[in-house]
Amino acid sequence: MSEPILEINHLTTSFRIKDEHYAAVDDVSLTVNKNELLAIVGESGCGKSALAFSIMRLHNRAKIEGEIKFKGQNITEFSTSQLNALRGKDMGMIFQDPLTALNPLMMIGDQIGEILLIHNKTLSANKRKGRVIELLNKVGIPRAEHVYNQFPHELSGGMRQRVVIAMAIANNPELLIADEPTTALDVTIQSQILDLMKELKEESHAGVILITHDLGVVAEMADRVAVMYAGQIVEIADVYTLFENPLHPYTRSLLNSVPTANEEQSKLHVIQGVVPSLQNLPREGCRFSARIPWISESAHEKNPVLHEVSPGHFVRCTCYKDFHFPDGKKEDKHHVIS
C-alpha cells in the first residue's frame, strides 16, 4: 500500500567553517510515502531546513554524504542538469517567507509561467497563460486574470504565499517540501494556507514533507512525525503514537511547552538552555543531555542509536526510560483530534 517516494539513508550534510566540517544534518534516515505527510519538527537551528535544502540539493557549498533516493534513483550522484530536470517538476518547494521568495521585478504570471516553460519548452504561450490562470484559481486567488499582470509588491503576504504554492504545484510534483510555509503569516491566513495544502495533497496524492515548529500544525496535518534535535532525528512515529505516547525527553519537553486549553496548569514547562550551535555540537553521547541535567549520566547511551520501541516508532538514546520532569511536574496529555 505504502509506496515510498523518497528514501533517505544516512544523510549527513556538513558545512566547512575554517577548514573543518560541521554536520548540520547528521546521519538522518527517513522515508516519505506517496500520499503521506511527514512533519519534521524541532526548534530553530535543529537542521530542519538544512535537511529540506539537502533533499532539493539547494545548498551551495555543502558536503553531502549518504543516499537520497527519489523514486528509486540516488540523486546525490545526479549532475546539475539532471537535478534541474527534477527540481520544480517532480519536486516542488514552498518557502518560508513569501515576501522575499518572489522576484520583485517579474509579474506573477511570468513567475509561475517560468516553471512551466522550463520543464515544457513546447507549451505555447497561450496555453501556458491558461494553465497559470488555472493554477491561480486552484490556490484560491480571486481575479486571477488581474493578478496575472500584477507584481509581488501589490499582493498581501497570504496571497503571495498562495502564488508560491501555485508555483510549487505547477508541474504536479510527486514530492512537495514545505519549509515552514506559515511561519511568516498571521494566524487566520495560516489556517487558510494549511487547508489549501491539505486539499492539494489529497487531490494530487503527492508525498509531502512539512517542516514546522508549530505542534498544532503537526497535529492537524501530519501522518507521521519526525522530531529533530541538533541535526539528528531523535524520535519518529506516526502522529497518533507520537502525541499519545511520546518517549524521547525532547519530544516530551516540546509537547509540555505547549499551552493546553482543557487542563489547568500554573506554569508552562521551559526547556533549559538553547540548541548548541553547529560548532559546539557535542561529538559523542546524547546531544540532549546538556538540557536535562537532572537526569543522571548513566541513563544515557554512549553512542545513542535509534531504538524501535514498537513497529514504526523509533527513539534515540536510552535516556527516555528514566526521564521525568523536574520538581515532579505533571505532564500534559495531548490528544490528536481528527
Binding site: 546539475t80 542538469s81 521585478l105 517560468e114
Partner: protein, 320 residues
Amino acid sequence: MWKFTLRRIVTMIPQVLLLSIIVFVLAKMMPGDALTGMVDPNVDPNTIAEKREALGLNDPWYEQYTRWLGGVFQGDLGQSIHFKMPVSELVWQRIVNSFWLSAFTLVLTYLIAIPLGITSGRYNDSWADRLITGYTYVGFAMPIFIFALVMLWVFGFYLDLFPTGGSIQPGIEPGTFEYIMSKIYHMLLPALSMALITTVSTVQYLRSEIVDTKQKDFILTARAKGASETRVYNRHILRNSLLPIAAFLGYEITGLIGGSIFIENIFSYPGMGQLFLSSISLRDYSVVTSLVLLFGMLTIIGGLLSDIILSLVDPRIRIK
C-alpha cells in the same frame, strides 16, 4: 508618469533660478571686470570710467542680474570679450563636440563596467574577481588628470597611435564618412582615458549588487524551479542588479562634466571643458557664467533623468 515628470520639471525652475543668482553674484565678486586688462593702459582712466558707466557695470548687482537674466531668456548670453563673438554661438560649437565626447565616454564606460562587474560579482572571490577589484582600487586612487597624461604620452607620443589634440583632422569635408571616422579617431583616446577611470565606481557598484542579489530568497526560488544557472543569472540576478545601475545613468552625466574639464584640456579637445578653463584664465566672465549655469542645469537634469529611468524600470516605484 507625465504628471510626475512635469512636476519635477516645475520644481526645477526655482533650483535653476537660485543657481543663476549664485553664479552671477560669484562672477561679480571676482576681482577685475571685462574692462580690466583689455584696455590699452595709456587710455585715459576717465574714458574707462565712462565706458564702465555706459556698460552698466556700476549698477547694483540685482539690476545687472535682471538685465542679464532677461538676455538669457532671449538666448542672449552676452558677448565673449576674448573671442569677440556671442557666447551662445561660441558655446554651441563646443557643446556639440562635448556632447559626442561624453556620449562616447558613456558608451565605453558601460562597455567596460558591465562585463567586468558581472564577472566580478558572479565569480566573487575568484582570481578574476581579485584582479578586477584590484583594478577598481587603482582607478579610485588615480587622479584622472595624471592617468590622462600618461595615456597621452604613451599612446599619443611614444607609440604615436593617436592624435594628441583637436577634434578633427584639418581639411576634411564635413558630412563625409571620412569626416566621421576622423572625429571618432580623435575622440577615442580622451574618451578611453576618461572611461577607464570613471568606470570603476560602476564596476564596484554592479559587483556588490550582484553579490547581494545572489543571496536573495527569490534566487533560491528560481533554483527550486529547476532553472539552469544561465537562466538564474540572466532572468533573475542580472535584471535585479542592473536596475540601480540604469538609474545611476543620470548622475553619471554629472560626473562626466567634471571629468571633461580635465580631459578636454589635456587633449586640447575643443569642448566646453576646455572653453571653461581658458575663459577663467582670460577672465571672460560672460562665458564662465554661461558655462557654470549650463553645467548646473545639466546636473539638475541628470538627477531628473535618474528618477525617470528608475520609475520606468522598477515596477515598485511606478508613479501614477
